[in-house]
């Protein structure tokens, strides 16, 4: 099980791989769409890569609730618990 800091770092790596955004730009309060300019297709790629990295399942209907990076970190942390 990963700590929230580890989940954030892992997500930042996935976002960087998909979009080229600097990992340090991926902060907890950042909105995926409004701040990081991530479109729905990239978001799905990030979700599937996060599932694999953290060994969790993020249902499609849950993805729309993951508005900020913090939402995603919290969801993954809970799913791992």
């Amino acid at each position: 099980m990963a700590s929230n800091e580890e989940i954030l770092a892992g997500l930042a790596e996935i976002v960087n791989e998909e979009t080229g955004l600097a990992p340090e730009a991926v902060e907890l309060d950042k909105s995926f769409t409004d701040d990081l300019d991530i479109d729905s297709i990239s978001m799905m790629t990030i979700v599937v890569n996060a599932e694999e990295k953290f060994g969790v399942r993020i249902p499609d209907e849950e993805v729309k609730n993951l508005k900020t990076v913090g939402d995603a970190v919290d969801f993954i942390a809970k799913a791992q618990a």
Partner: protein, 411 residues
Amino acid sequence: MARKVVITGLGATTPIGGDVPTTWQNSLKGVSGARTLEDEWVARYELPVTFACRASNRPDEVLSRVEAKRMDPSTQFAVVAAREAWKDSGIEDIDHDRLAVAFATGIGGVWTLLDAWDTLRERGPRRVLPMTVPMLMPNGPAAAVSMDLGARAGAHTPVSACASGTEAMSMGIDLIRAGKADVVMTGGAEAAIHPMPIAAFSAMQALSKRNDDPEHASRPYDIDRDGFVMGEGAGALVLEAEEHALARGARIYAELAGSGVTADAYHITAPDPEGLGATRALKAALFDARAQATDVVHVNAHATSTPVGDKPEYTALKAALGNHVDNVAVSATKSQTGHLLGASGAVESVLTVMAIYERKMPVTINLESQDPDIPLDVVTSVRDMPGGDVVALNNSFGFGGHNAVVVFRNV
């Protein structure tokens, strides 16, 4: 009077060069882009053909990592060539609502399609990339080029197998003449050096099996030709309404004077043995260009090096040009680049335009013993093009009986 269409920008990424200057210089030297494939899948699938003409520069090394991962290799090639052509045109201020794209492919995103199928079978649907559909669609190259340039007057994708690239240029002429655009980025892209297309083309006996001597395998018009060699890459040409080009003081390479597109309606793969469809395309193209057969000094032939394909093209040239065919210098540049399928017409048009602009004609390699049934004047060492007013043709023919011819004239 129809609007005159001129060519003001060129781009290419081919097996004999990563850009136009390199491709052009090598085409005059006569180099082969064919190499034995090093990929592990050649042995894994025991492919009957073990070589091809790989692009000399990988497009994902030119594009940024994030750009590249959202594009099929065919689209990557298209964007690389289109960017070169756009920069070369020198266009800066333009009404983007008057800029169109006609960018062809023969096969489309075959790597993406088959990778996704492998992923589905091996790892399940969840792992199939969300970008799969936009990456595999055949309009992917045109769409990516349109977004890259901000071209909003339509992005079109003629698909007619190996005639696609030339047909895209024909469409570009039509768009400008019809007043639907002032500038059209035309071209073709292909990235099909994948085990499945190799196996499939091989199954139809279309590919050369000269595995022990790849560099001499593509040999159009030679008596020992045994099939084509697969190539990959892209060519791009900026077409522009003449008045638009003159108003901005553009460098003009040549006029794209006309085109002819016909269908054989004869057989799905075999060319009409009498070349009737190709003859009609040649005649239509010359008529469209208001050119006489006797104006033609140079032809960049389709000439893929298949036993059945090269001769009907000669028959058609003879029918369309009459005895003047003996005075025409013919280059079969697939001997160097291999066959870039849907990109071939665009790459060969780039070479034809350069031939007019530089007054030098590219070389046909590997012609050791010319087929006596094809008594063309083949350019086997670099040759000057005559001075004065000249017309040159580029022919492309595709499975499905597609024939496309474009006519270039000096300015």
